[in-house]
């Protein structure tokens, strides 16, 4: 599946499907491939940050910079694996794992007070002051049984978000 051809073989599709644990149908993968080629304007085999930002709906999203870091340099197979967290067929665990990765900026498996604060800052911008954010976060953490110095690992996230209703699904349009 080179970056030169814009045709997917059956073998390529199956490989991609395998890689994303079969959460996307073959038709959806073909659709995603067309979308990938559409976004990858210079046909380099991956979508650059700039190419992602040319989608205004993505550029105005508060978490776009964080996601760009995760999307940087992904080839098509990895791109589909990234999006697999948003398929209706994915497990709740996979979705929580994705959210954990968004928080865990330095990918060390631990989410600290500062990590959460950073995401909060991305989401709230100038609408809350830094003190307000820290106050709210500290209070909420305490009430949940953690402290300012705790670092949360994936299993903590699973416990916290485990029985909530995570609506994180995206429909892949089939041309």
């Amino acid at each position: 599946m080179g970056n030169t051809s814009s045709m997917l073989t059956q073998y390529d599709i199956e490989e991609v499907q395998e890689h994303c644990n079969h959460v996307f149908s073959q038709q959806e993968i073909v659709s995603l491939y067309h979308r990938f080629c559409q976004l990858d304007r210079n046909s380099s085999g991956f979508i650059s940050g700039d190419e992602f930002l040319s989608v205004p709906e993505f550029a105005v999203n508060p978490l776009s910079q964080r996601l760009l870091r995760m999307l940087d340099g992904l080839n098509f197979k990895e791109f589909v694996a990234f999006l697999s967290a948003f398929s209706p067929r994915t497990s709740l665990q996979h979705k929580i794992e994705f959210i954990f990765k968004v928080y865990d900026f330095d990918s060390n498996g631990k989410v600290t007070f500062d990590d959460i604060l950073n995401v909060l800052r991305d989401l709230t911008g100038s609408f809350m002051s830094e003190q307000q954010r820290q106050k709210v976060l500290a209070r909420v953490l305490e009430e949940a049984g953690y402290t300012k110095d705790s670092s949360l690992v994936l299993s903590d996230f699973m416990k916290i978000l485990g029985n909530s209703d995570l609506k994180m699904e995206v429909e892949v349009p089939i041309d």
Binding site: V55, V60, L67, I99, T124, F127, M128, A144, V170
Partner: protein, 372 residues
């Protein structure tokens, strides 16, 4: 699919503002406490981002769908080959010759008139206008344009502007064939720029440059001056600001709608069966685009001149622009999209991004929590 980006007016009407939340002390509704899980749950925002990655309404506006190949079997393929031979071997040379002949006649008549009749401006302008109209007809003939005009022909009156949806620069040629419009255009390089400078001056043209930030005020002023001149050709404006693929319309810029004069909408719809007239300026030069048109069978389109509109009392220019866009979209069968065409060239402004914070659910929740 995750929701489309909201336009600015939509956010004003639908969502209460942050200030309301922060100010009101009496918000004690179901004193739902903010739990850690609500704070950590960023799924709505992530969902929107993923939705934008998978499909977004803005990119769809500029997608040129290649026609389905129909020449795939044993008897259709030779037919298609014959078609190619006719198109490239017979039609194309004939068209190029016609166009060249047209240009020669045009220049032979235009330059003498332009210089010799210097003193008699009224006559000079009349003849130049007619010449430009003739040249546009030659252009249209060079792609075998089959154009159906509906509605009353534009009349030359002061205090009116014409607005149309934009698919390619040939929109201008098609409309100019019928009436000599003055036009407002982006400065182009190459031979197009040369034509802009010499010939289009005669019908009256206003230049703008997307890349210059102060440009908008200068252009506004020029527009106003033009519409007030009784002798000027009616002004044709493409308020989308960029070429769109003739299936969608992007938001209209309000410049044409705050001049205080009548706005006459014109809707243009191309028939894709013959050729896709969308000019994707990022993918092909205008010359290539013309070449593509000249090697197709025909350019078929419908032009509707719609009823002149006036701004209603209490209506803002933006609302007026949206109302006219609605008329044009309905008439030409186009879908409306809430994005600014200039996002093709520039990133969203910080102001637009700020607006998105207001809609952010965790933020609304957090602000509610502050009251508890």
């Amino acid at each position: 699919m995750a929701g489309l980006g909201s336009s600015i007016s939509e956010t004003d009407l639908d969502r209460p503002s942050i200030e309301e939340y922060l100010a009101a002390e009496s918000i004690r509704e179901s004193s739902k406490k903010l739990l850690l899980r609500d704070l950590l749950d960023i799924s709505p925002t992530l969902k929107e981002a993923a939705g934008a990655i998978v499909d977004d309404s803005f990119t769809r506006c500029f997608k040129s769908n290649p026609p389905e190949p129909w020449n795939w079997n044993i008897y259709l393929f030779p037919l298609w080959c014959l078609g190619v031979v006719i198109r490239y071997g017979i039609l194309f040379p004939v068209r190029v010759t016609t166009l060249a002949a047209g240009w020669i006649v045009f220049f032979a008549a235009f330059f003498p008139v332009h210089f010799l009749l210097r003193g008699h401006n009224k006559w000079r302008r009349k003849i130049e206008r007619k010449l430009v109209e003739m040249m546009c007809s030659v252009f249209v003939a060079s792609w075998t344009g089959v154009i159906k005009y509906h509605g009353p022909r534009p009349s030359i009156r002061p205090q009116q502007v014409f607005v149309a949806n934009h698919t390619s620069m040939i929109d201008f040629i098609i409309l100019e064939q019928m009436t000599a419009f003055a036009v407002i255009m982006q400065k182009h390089p190459g031979w197009v720029g040369f034509i802009q400078k010499t010939i289009l001056e005669s019908v009256g043209c206003i230049w703008f440059n997307r890349t210059e930030s102060k440009d908008r005020e200068i252009v506004s002023r020029k527009l106003r001056e033009h519409t007030q001149g009784a002798d000027n050709n009616p002004l044709l404006i493409f308020p989308e600001g960029t070429c769109v693929n003739n299936h969608y319309t992007v938001m209209f810029k309000k410049g044409a709608f705050e001049l205080g004069c009548a706005v006459c909408p014109v809707a243009i719809k191309y028939n894709r069966i013959f050729v896709d007239a969308f000019w994707n300026s990022k993918k092909q030069s205008f010359t290539t685009h013309l070449g593509q048109l000249m090697t197709s069978w025909a350019v078929v389109c419908d032009v509707w001149y719609l009823e002149p509109q006036y701004i209603r009392p209490g209506e803002t220019p933006i609302e007026f622009a949206e109302r006219v866009r609605d008329m044009i979209s309905v008439r030409a069968g186009l879908k409306k999209v809430p994005w600014d065409g200039y996002l093709k060239y520039f990133r969203p402004s910080p102001k637009l991004i700020e607006r998105k914070y207001e809609l952010c659910q965790p933020l609304q929740f957090l602000v509610k929590y502050k009251q508890n």
